[in-house]
């Protein structure tokens, strides 16, 4: 019997990676997000001050001691910005992980099982999708109360139906493909087919949806915070730091209060969107032929 050669590592993913790497902006986005994540993780090491401690003059302009000045309560803006990274990224990442998990499982079940289960799930999805999101977010936040974990729950609650629908569609169409039929003919069990064969093939759109979803979640959180219904001070989030921009005085004479968080929001959302774009392009089946 012949020697079995050692295999090349996942050439599919290697190809995707190569394609992704060609997308310069996506790579830039990835680097920026990587840095932001590091900043989030190592916030306590990086941040010069306790983000909630009142340590300086109030609304002081940037100086050697406070590179981005202090806010209206005399806290170090840079430190708050660094800690806020944690909050905003957590909103983006955890929300998406939560709702992608829920949506994938529900969608896969609906698509694969079919029949009345599918019908029921579909109606539930309909109900959820019939709420215009911002309004429900507002109501839900009121019901559950503000705060980081509640914001995440609310956003996840509203995110899953879209993923479920997406996954359901993928499962329905993949179920008709010959390779799944081949799997059935080979006698594979349903869970094996769903999780081993169908879902990995639906990963592309899910991943893209998740990436854009993370960007949207960060935006939603900042919008909510802007309305005063997001993450609550003293905890800092980019959105609630931007609240300062609601004052003309800050807008005109204290740019250090709002330009940094504003830029960071735009930069991070843009980066994530670029990454999503890159993934979508890289996974585009017309280009990969897969």
């Amino acid at each position: 019997m012949a020697q079995v050669p050692s295999y090349e590592v996942d050439s599919y993913w290697r190809m995707i990676r190569q394609r992704f790497m060609q997308h310069k902006l996506a790579v830039a986005g990835l680097i920026i997000m990587g840095l932001l994540i590091l900043v989030g993780i190592f916030a306590p090491l990086i941040a010069p001050y306790d983000p909630n401690a009142i340590i300086g003059a109030f609304s002081a302009p940037p100086s050697g001691a406070h590179w981005l000045g202090t806010d209206q309560v005399g806290r170090d803006v840079l430190s708050r910005l660094i800690y806020a990274t944690r909050v905003s990224l957590a909103v983006g990442v955890i929300t998406v992980i939560l709702y992608v998990l829920i949506g994938t499982v529900v969608g896969a079940i609906a698509g694969y099982v079919g029949g009345w289960v599918d019908m029921l799930i579909n109606r539930i999805i309909d109900v959820f999708m019939s709420f215009p999101s911002m309004m429900v977010i507002l109501v839900l936040v009121t019901v559950l109360g503000t705060g980081l974990s509640n914001i995440i729950i609310v956003l996840a609650l509203l995110g899953w139906p879209a993923v479920a629908r997406l996954v359901r569609g993928s499962v329905l169409s993949l179920r008709q493909t010959e390779f799944v039929r081949a799997g059935i003919a080979l006698g594979f069990s349903s869970p094996r087919l769903i999780f081993g064969h169908i879902l990995p093939n639906a990963m592309g759109p899910i991943l893209v949806n998740a990436t854009f979803g993370a960007a949207a979640a960060i935006l939603s959180e900042s919008s909510l915070s802007f309305l005063g219904m997001g993450v609550q001070p003293p905890a800092a989030s980019w959105g609630n730091m931007l609240n300062a921009a609601q004052s003309i005085t800050a807008l005109t004479t204290q740019p250090w209060l709002w330009i940094p968080p504003g830029l960071v929001i735009i930069l991070s959302v843009l980066s994530i969107n670029f990454i999503g774009d890159g993934i979508r392009d890289a996974m585009d089946s017309r280009r990969t032929g897969v």
């Binding site: 109606r123 999101s133 309004m135 109501v139 019901v143 109360g145 935006l219 919008s223 504003g262």
Partner: protein, 316 residues
């Protein structure tokens, strides 16, 4: 087709019922009693009781829901807890401004997005395409409120050429131009994010169509490139756009909350916020009900439009 619409409406009914019930549960779960809000020291506990009774808050939960449903069947959405006006009247007053803003924003967004999207697709890979694709992502990445405040600051405060908020100038006779000047900034704010997403959508949709064989047929027939793109490609590419356009409206009605707040545009969004902050249950029910209706209507619209514009689809 007619049957199809009827069928869709029938399916929509249980969904709507589910929506209203879920809404009712949610709203009633919210902490805060509409009557407790009268923190005027002069309002006694007895007064609160009278108010509670008058508002029907003393009934058990399910009874209140069924009462609400029964009234709904007669087209009555109840009276607001805070202004005591019929909810229908309050909504009627607000729906126009919101539709105006949303409509103008969609128009603005699409007017920008469609030509740019097409051009990007036709010249895909070019510098222009690259620039616009990047720019469009920026459009979707800027928070609405950030853009809105920036616009107010630049055009309202620094340059002073446009009003910073409201829907008409006071005392004036209103009129088209007056409304238009007030509409500009909010429309740009809301329209920018729409056009950002739209450019990408149009672009990929057109690129998709450009790869189709019937375009090669058209070229082989000796059609000019202009006709190939603007007749043969465009109609196909626009079909998904028409359906998307329908779906945009409810998203925007909700999404306009922030823009409405910033520009004091008194539409549905503002009404919602107001209803939430005053725990005005009937109003909130009404607003959400309308919003859900708009989503369902938009879905129906997009499916029906699909059938109307795409001859391949016929509903029976």
């Amino acid at each position: 087709m007619f049957n199809y619409i009827i069928r869709r409406l029938l399916i929509a009914l249980p969904v709507l019922l589910g929506v209203t019930f879920l809404n009712f549960v949610l709203i009633n779960l919210a902490p805060g009693d509409p009557v407790d809000m009268y923190v005027n020291p002069d309002v006694t506990e007895e007064d609160k009781q009278i108010r509670r009774e008058a508002l029907g808050l003393n009934d058990p939960f399910m009874i209140r829901y069924f009462k609400w449903l029964a009234n709904l069947l007669q087209g009555d959405l109840g009276h607001s807890f805070s202004s005591f006006q019929p909810v229908t009247a309050m909504i009627a007053e607000r729906i126009g401004p919101t539709l105006l803003l949303v409509g103008a924003s969609i128009l603005f967004g699409y007017l920008i997005a469609i030509p740019i999207g097409i051009y990007c697709a036709v010249k895909s890979g070019s510098k222009f395409d690259y620039l616009m694709s990047t720019g469009s992502l920026l459009g979707v990445s800027i928070p609405n409120f950030f853009l809105g405040l920036g616009l107010i600051y630049i055009f309202g405060v620094l340059l002073g050429i446009l009003p910073t908020g409201g829907m008409n100038s006071m005392g004036g006779s209103g009129g088209f131009w007056d409304t238009l000047t007030h509409l500009i900034l909010p429309t740009i704010t809301l329209g920018t994010s729409i056009s950002g997403g739209m450019i990408r959508y149009v672009r990929s949709s057109v690129i998709e169509v450009l790869g189709q064989e019937y375009l090669r047929t058209a070229r082989a027939k000796g059609m000019k490139e202009f006709i190939v793109i603007n007749k043969h490609a465009l109609k196909n590419a626009l079909i998904p756009l028409i359906t998307i356009a329908g779906l945009d409206i409810p998203i925007l009605i909700g999404g306009a909350v922030i823009t409405e707040t910033i520009f004091q545009w008194n539409g549905m969004g503002q009404l919602t916020i107001q209803a939430i902050f005053s725990r005005d249950f009937p109003l909130l029910m009404g607003v959400n009900m309308l919003a859900a209706l708009s989503v369902l209507a938009a879905n129906l619209w997009s499916d029906v439009m699909y059938a109307v514009v795409d001859p391949r689809i016929k509903y029976s």
